[in-house]
Subunit: 228 residues, 2 copies
């Protein structure tokens, strides 16, 4: 009963793989980039690193020593290959329910924050695709923090922007890194399967709920931790 | 003790995502194909259908009615897009440990069977990449059965070719469909993560063991159900 007297929770959203179907384009771009520099990496290992800070992703996949040598080059090549998916006619689509969920949360008085570490140029394209500006309270980008997820810095910046305590926020994301970053900042994490991580992986990382995608989360909104 | 007197188990291998790093190329090709025909499908849903019979994959993703309309066209487009990954210089690589595991099993007297439903032309390229012909007891292909995994037909054909009872065989695969097909035929399934399915998903489908990849399975071979 007391819960109902509290203000609605702030809801922090990851974008890639959560609101936009872009994770597999990132996998494709990284696989090509690693191949270009002569250090091929298995696609599934790349996939499991998506959502992580780029520098951590590279070091985690090829080790610190090789990363020091190829890191900048492979990140640049990733951006080039990824840009092919983001051209004049992006081959990425907004995931079902994304626009509707953000609008509904905003309508109910939740502060909706995009908590991504995507670079400014990628973020601009993603926001263009999403077309949810009216529903947004705030947005964080790579400019706001030095190290992205799973470092909790991004989540902490998002909390500051929302002006709420960690206990009155929820993070929605598709990657174990989202959930881990949220947990480290004291925020409950809700997982979605639309980025290709498994439900078991997300729960093991600390997700308190797992939904197929944001459309399923919207359908279950009244029973979700988002509205408690 | 009695176990040690039995002949070594037959080991049935899936290829895509298990021995060759090809699942994400298949996801890419299907995503493009569905987009080409104006029925875009989320990449993660495609990913979770990889390893399944093509006709079942299409019907599962767009429904029977739309599948009846676009099925042949989208399958043809998938083959075209996938062929781009299989050109003169395939951008797919053999997963670490694949060649070594098959050679070691053959050396120990196991019957090694490739149990795939890949079409003959794809299979020829995959076998060329693998270069393990000397280690093989038999190979099944799409020619051998009408419906591929998760139908157990493919596993049953592989057992016939090996001339062993289901209880003396193990199936190694990356997809829940491999494990389900094996279980339906009474064969124990061993999962690998190299196709991008989660460990929890594979265990839920009935996998008795899950390893990161075939290199990890080779390293753990003496403790594995394969050698019991």
């Amino acid at each position: 009963m007391t819960d109902q007297q509290q203000t609605p929770r702030a809801v922090l959203f990851d974008i890639d793989g959560t609101l936009v179907d872009s994770n597999y384009a990132h996998v494709d771009a990284w696989v090509k980039a690693f191949r270009d520099v002569g250090h091929p990496v298995d696609a599934w290992r790349v996939h499991r690193s998506i959502g992580k800070d780029s520098a951590l992703l590279v070091a985690g996949l090829v080790g610190d020593e090789v990363a020091a040598e190829i890191g900048d080059r492979v990140s640049g090549l990733h951006s080039e290959h990824y840009a092919e998916h983001l051209g004049d006619d992006p081959d990425l689509h907004v995931l079902a329910g994304a626009t509707e969920l953000l609008a509904e949360l905003s309508r109910r008085g939740h502060q909706v924050v995009l908590a991504t570490s995507a670079p400014e140029d990628e973020l601009a394209v993603l926001r263009g695709l999403l077309d949810v500006e009216d529903a947004l309270w705030a947005v964080t980008s790579s400019e706001d923090v030095e190290t992205a997820k799973p470092d909790p810095g991004m989540v902490e910046v998002a909390l500051e922007k929302a002006g709420v305590d960690a206990s009155r926020a929820v993070m929605v994301g598709d990657a174990t890194w989202d959930v881990e970053a949220a947990s480290s900042a004291g925020v409950q994490g809700v997982g979605v399967l639309s980025g290709g991580f498994g439900a078991g992986e997300l729960r093991d990382a600390g997700a308190v709920e797992v939904h197929e995608d944001v459309a399923a989360l919207l359908a279950a909104l009244d029973d979700s931790v988002l509205t408690r």
